[in-house]
Amino acid sequence: MSAPLLRIAGLRKAFGAVVASDGIDLDLAEGEVHALIGPNGAGKTTLIGQLAGEIRPDSGRIVFRGRDITALPAHTRAARGLARSFQITSLLPGMSALDNVALAVQAHAGHSFRFWRPASDEAAIREPAREALARVGLAHRMDMSAAALAHGEQRQLEIAIALASQPRLLLLDEPTAGMGAEDGARMVALLESLRGAVTMLLVEHDMDTVFALAERISVLVNGKIIASGAPAAIRGDPNVRRAYLGEEDA
């Protein structure tokens, strides 16, 4: 097997007495869709935060594309091909959907210390942005401000922003959170269409979504990964059943 795209080794993070990451080891292969599940408070978002570079781990290493990125700030990681969507929608609310995505493209098109030429004239930025919007089904909402979009559309815009940077690894923190059945299904179809093109680490509470998308699943409980494997194996794992999946009928 080739070297993993992402390797997490012995990651630890404590907030006072609460150990959010308690020696996490996890490898992600290039191209896989990996789901991270676990009960509330298990430390899933903290793990995403450490991978994205917003939270500094106490110890352990994160290796991405063969390089140790543990000490790098968020923007440098993003520049190396690590994109994320946020659990709580995080957009540039007062700007158009197109500007939101155009900035994500611009972030990966050299420095932005360019003061003269209007950004809206730059086809090299605007075209990929339009494509990313079309890909998530928002082409008709291009000129609307992000704040004016419906909730489901805002989540789609999050994905478009992440895609626009042509990432190698996509961290998705509950992409279907707060969505109705119809929007949820559309999001699953969208993520399904990205399979193979982008490696995804998916944090999700909705088990239907998890089992529809994931090739491998890791279960995080109290900061520890208690099981990791194919969906069928996880479903049958007695530890997982006890700790999380179907507590009442275990």
């Binding site: 700030p73 440098t76 993003a78 932005s112 210390f113 360019r114 940077s165």
Partner: protein
């Protein structure tokens, strides 16, 4: 339509003001108008970081006042005929606008680089307080600067030399200020629409998001802070020529507050807002102060109303009106 009409009308009036004033025998109005335009320029500089970058600086008078002092100090040495610095090399004074004014911008730009590099490590309320703290430090620095008058301030022997323009002539000075303001407005317009401007507006909207996209936001904020400081320095250079006198009160925190009011009243994050704000604020001051010395009693509630009901100030209301048509 409203917007366009106001812009063209405003520009025509600004161009025609000196002959109009002369025709009705109110020549002193030209001096007041020049002062308004200088405050508009200071407002435009603050608007870049406050309105477009979301950085609430409460210390902008530091750059405004320092720019004024640079012109005054260089002019002071030029008329005394001695050197400003003798070691490690000799720097003399200068009363030439082409030297003193860019120097004011340079000094303020470097000052903004140092102050910004520290202040921008904080945000929100802390940023407001630390910019205020730096401005007060500079204020007391100039109070203690005895060779240049300390608390009493420093008079200019004459305005900067800007051949072929005679800056001691009110009308010529006014037109030069107007021209500089228009040039800066044009440059701001380009900058705001550029890649850099888009990044700056993105940071105002959601800095964390911008970092996750891959932007080293600190650098962009710092660059904007430096540009803003340098332009405020130019405004300061102009005010020194206007009053032909500088004192530490130019760096007072109340002055920082006035520039903030100019931007908020006129409309944060709108290109022409600070100009509208400067006109409204200084005219109100001019008119109301003649009527009562407690003119702040009227201006205060007015500002509250603007903040409550017109989030983007006077110019924001104009743009909304135009968009509706």
């Amino acid at each position: 339509m409203v917007r366009r009409g106001l812009l063209l009308g405003g520009l025509s009036l600004a161009l025609a003001l000196p002959p109009l004033a002369a025709a009705v025998g109110l020549d002193y109005v030209v001096g007041i108008a020049a002062r308004i335009l200088i405050f508009a320029l200071a407002g435009v500089s603050l608007n870049l970081i406050l309105g477009y970058g979301g950085m609430v600086s409460f210390g902008h008078a530091a750059f405004f006042g320092t720019g004024a002092y640079v012109v005054a100090i260089l002019g002071h040495h030029a008329s005394a005929g001695d050197a400003l610095v003798t070691w490690p090399f000799t720097i003399g004074g200068s009363d030439l606008a082409v030297i003193a004014w860019p120097m004011a911008m340079l000094v303020c730009g470097v000052l903004a680089l140092v102050i910004g590099a520290i202040c921008l490590r904080t945000s929100g309320l802390y940023f407001i307080m630390i910019t205020l703290a730096f401005a007060q430090m500079l204020y007391f620095f100039f109070v203690a600067l005895e060779p240049y008058g300390g608390d009493d301030g420093l008079s200019l022997a004459h305005p900067s030399r800007a051949w072929p323009i005679d800056l001691s002539d009110d009308r010529q000075f006014y037109y030069l200020v107007l021209a500089l303001l228009l040039v800066i407005l044009y440059l701001m317009r380009r900058l705001i629409a550029s890649r850099f401007g888009l990044v700056l507006r993105g940071i105002r909207e959601n800095e964390r998001r911008m970092q996750a996209m891959g932007f080293a936001t600190y650098r962009y904020k710092l660059a904007a802070f430096v540009i803003s400081g340098a332009v405020a320095g130019l405004a300061g250079a102009l005010i020194a020529n206007h009053t032909e006198f500088v004192s530490p009160s130019f760096l007072d925190w109340r002055r920082s507050g006035e520039i903030l009011v100019v931007v908020i009243l006129g409309g944060m994050g709108t290109l022409y807002g600070p100009v509208a704000g400067a006109i409204a604020y200084l005219m109100l001051e001019e008119v109301l102060a003649r009527w009562t010395e407690h003119w702040m009693i009227i201006l205060g509630p007015l500002l509250v109303l603007v903040v409550l009901y017109a989030k983007q100030g006077l110019w924001g209301a104009v743009e909304k009106l135009s968009a509706r048509r």
